[in-house]
Symmetry: C2
Subunit: 137 residues, 2 copies
Amino acid sequence: MFSRIDHIGVAVEEIEPALELYRDRLELEVAHREVVEQQGVEAVLLDVGENHVELLAPLGADTPVGKFLAKQGPGLHHVAYQVSDIDSALRALKQAGIRLIDEQPRPGIRGSRVAFVHPRATGGVLTEIVQPAAEPR
Amino acid sequence: MFSRIDHIGVAVEEIEPALELYRDRLELEVAHREVVEQQGVEAVLLDVGENHVELLAPLGADTPVGKFLAKQGPGLHHVAYQVSDIDSALRALKQAGIRLIDEQPRPGIRGSRVAFVHPRATGGVLTEIVQPAAEPR
């Protein structure tokens, strides 16, 4: 069902110090940067081979990532698995009895389609599935 | 420096219910299983393409994973990046001023060599680097 780890999501207070770490010191290349008003985050994708690190900085305290930071501080936020067909993957997850946050895919960054699985269904791990855009922006 | 995400480490209370989720319902193939007395864990590696999910169950409450579970419950524990030469990667990390837990590599599961970076150096993300064995057991 999953072809690879698409990315790990890392919650950070601010993008710039995180870029200083991941881009400048760990030497990962920035692939994409996008403000997603609807989700209340600024997101930066960095390449690690065919996988990515996704830095997530909240646009305000009253956003999901803002609340995460207030509760447990910066750190690992979620893992995302890549699928080639998110509609069939969601059907398969439902058939396997796995509780979903998103029953239908919604727009992700870089033209992707994404859906979140409920962390109670995955042992406390916030889990996303991602179908990349055919031609990522 | 990093060629891919080697694995995400997931802290679980018990291996069997986690296998029921990752192996049976999410359909990931089990690649390896090992008790690491020295680190106080039972570890199971499952394949996700060329990446892995590493399930970590503590052998007792007074182990690093046991303490993690007591503090914040089951969930994402660490991320590991793959390197081809861990000795030169550790030198590069030190040169970049990144604080390490392990200045020298130590044995990981499946014949790998691993080292942990200090989470204070990586924005709260417990980060491991892994050089796989030439021929994984």
